[in-house]
């Protein structure tokens, strides 16, 4: 059998089986699931063998593309169908059974959502708290991280190790005593208290990431500046920071995302007057008052900032995550 024929028949088997399998979502007729799985395995194998005989490595590429499509579907499908398309449905559409496509798309739920006081306040508070906490922590940690990374001083090793240990602390270990302390100081349910709580959460991460970033700057560059007469502060401002702008921005983004997504701190440090985003989404999930399309609209709005940041900074975020620096 010619390799070309093998490859084409493999592709045909994959395609036909997939069309048959997924057409069942629209047409009711029996095509067993196991048959589709078998057809996929056989078809991809034929494709692999055929393409490999035609050209080294082509088979692996085609199969990889097919599997990557599966990964994309697993990632996008729930989000697209439930959060994006779901937010366009009307609550009455739920009565006529689950719909993948909204029968009568409308933006109504977004308007209704913003009439819920705790939601719009929560969104506003989260924007304020996450931005403030991320910016303050990053700016303050610039100096501290620079000292840990490039200055030689007694106890440096100990500081380094403690920063690492603090970074590993689970949030709850910090939050239990923090709540007790904040209660004593009357800082529960206040916006400054919320900012401080979020800072406690992100400061270790920010410090740790900036230390790693500054360690990557070649000491020679800084020494050259120092020989030219720059003080430590000038060296940091004119040499180290310009060289690490992407890392600093990435750090701030990591801090913002961590704070934005945070549920536990926001929930525990707030009683009624400082609603935050994540807890208000949990409120919307309450089984008695739940309106699914409205919840999807809320989910879409809550996801937008982090998705935009992830898209813009993807190169740097992927590197930071891939190196195991952020979990």
């Amino acid at each position: 059998m010619s390799p070309r024929l093998l490859a084409w028949s493999g592709a045909a088997v994959v395609l036909i089986a997939t069309v048959l399998e997924f057409s069942q979502l629209f047409v009711d007729w029996p095509f067993p699931f196991w048959l589709w799985v078998v057809a996929m395995v056989v078809g991809l194998a034929l494709l692999w063998v055929g393409l490999n005989r035609l050209h080294i490595g082509m088979g692996a590429r085609a199969v990889a593309a097919a599997l990557a499509f599966l990964v994309i579907m697993v990632i996008f499908l729930p989000f697209a169908v439930v959060i994006v398309l779901g937010s366009l449905q009307r609550p009455v559409d739920l009565l006529s059974g689950p719909h993948a496509l909204p029968p009568d798309p409308t933006l109504d739920q977004f308007g209704r959502l913003f009439r819920i006081a705790y939601w719009s306040e929560g969104l506003r508070n989260s924007l304020i708290v996450s931005t403030t906490a991320a910016v303050i922590c990053t700016l303050l940690a610039l100096l501290g991280a620079y000292a840990i990374a490039s200055l030689r001083f007694p106890g440096r090793r100990a500081v380094y190790t403690s920063v690492m240990l603090i970074y590993m602390l689970p949030g709850i270990a910090l939050l239990v005593p923090l709540v007790a302390i904040f209660r004593g100081l009357g800082m529960i349910d206040t916006l400054p208290g919320m900012v401080l709580g979020h800072m406690a959460l992100i400061l270790p991460l920010v410090t740790w990431l900036l230390v790693s970033a500054f360690e990557g700057v070649q000491p020679e560059l800084e020494q050259a500046a120092r020989i030219d007469g720059a003080g430590r502060f000038d060296a940091l401002r004119r040499v180290v920071i310009p060289l690490t702008v992407p890392s600093i921005a990435t750090t701030a983004v990591f801090a913002f995302v961590l704070s934005w997504n945070e549920l536990l701190v926001s929930r525990v440090l707030s009683i009624s007057s400082t609603p935050m985003l994540a807890p208000s989404i949990v409120n919307l999930m309450d089984p008695i008052n739940r309106v699914e399309p409205q919840l999807s609209a809320a989910g879409l709005i809550a996801s937008l900032p982090v998705l935009v940041l992830a898209l813009v900074m993807q190169r740097y975020l992927i590197r930071g995550i891939g190196e195991g620096a952020v979990i």
Partner: protein, 310 residues
């Protein structure tokens, strides 16, 4: 005028000090703000929580009574503690195996050259970036027995005969949460493997290919031994993520159904501290979580070092 004095004049006052004293002065100055914040927001609370664990509420409001190690001793005869610990293991084991296996497979796929590879790589960031509560809300509707899309799809596609129920079984609900958690975390694990694979020497792979090794053998005898330290790292990272699993439990089950069937230690510590307002025993439980996290975290930094060497 010599270069030295010019330098000293243009630099700050500290530059006049001998180099070691100068370093110390700057270290103190630069570390100051970070240290103060960490001391106030992290170190002081940690010390305070030791105090919490050895005290209990006292009859006089606003004061605490010393109770010694009573709170710690309570761990020994608390069945819910044992149940939460067991269930933590029930979360961790499948979550680690699934996320690492799927993550590794996805990384191997994405390590191939094919059109659209960068798009897939970028889309891995989506589950990572989404707020956990949004993931919870999304799967709550998607997996709902009556209103959700997945059950009818599974029936229509012939995967199952009867619509499965995802949020009512014991211990099935726990494994539903594991599945959602894996959906959220496998991209992170895949990215870790993907970065590690970039350091896999191409020559070795090519040499194996020329010697006639097929894809399986190339994976088994070239890529797999190379990735072994990374697999260790990925397992521990997933373990750390899973013992701190909270948002999904809080938003989706609240610890139920049945008697605490989806509690893990972290959630139990939360419930005890903030819903039963027993900060003392809550702090003890939080310490247990902390000890586990720190022990595995330290193993991880060791593993991370050997990773960087390879």
């Amino acid at each position: 005028m010599t270069a030295r004095t010019t330098a000293a004049n243009r630099g700050s006052w500290f530059s006049r000090l001998p180099i070691r004293a100068e370093n110390r002065a700057y270290a103190g100055l630069f570390l100051g703000p970070t240290f103060l914040l960490m001391a106030a927001l992290i170190l002081y609370p940690l010390v305070f929580s030791v105090f919490l664990t050895v005290t209990g509420p006292s009859p006089t409001p606003g004061e605490r009574r010393l109770v010694g190690l009573d709170n710690w001793a309570r761990l020994g005869n608390d069945p819910l503690f044992m149940q939460s610990l067991t269930q933590t293991v029930m979360y961790v084991v499948p979550a680690c195996i699934l996320a690492v296996a799927i993550g590794l497979a996805v990384a191997l796929v994405l390590n191939q050259e094919f059109p659209g590879r960068l798009l897939v790589r970028a889309s891995l960031l989506i589950p990572w970036a989404l707020p956990p509560v949004v993931v919870a809300a999304m799967f709550q509707w998607f997996l709902d027995g009556r209103r959700g899309l997945l059950s009818p799809w599974l029936v229509q596609l012939g995967v199952v005969d009867q619509a499965p129920s995802f949020f009512s079984g014991v211990p099935g609900t726990l494994f539903t949460l594991v599945g959602i958690h894996v959906w959220k975390t496998f991209p992170l694990i895949a990215l870790i493997f993907l970065v590690s694979l970039q350091y896999l020497p191409r020559e070795t792979v090519h040499a194996a290919q020329i010697d006639g090794a097929g894809p399986w053998r190339r994976f088994r005898y070239v890529a797999f031994p190379f990735l072994l330290p990374t697999i260790g790292v990925a397992l521990i990272i997933q373990l750390l993520l899973t013992i701190q699993l909270f948002d999904l439990i809080f938003a989706l089950t609240g610890g139920g159904p049945g008697a605490y069937s989806t509690y893990n230690l972290y959630f139990y510590a939360f419930k005890t501290s903030f819903e039963h307002t027993n900060l003392s025993y809550g702090a003890v439980l939080a310490y247990v979580v902390t000890v586990i996290a720190i022990v595995f975290g330290l193993i991880l930094t060791r593993g991370g070092r050997s990773l960087r060497l390879s």
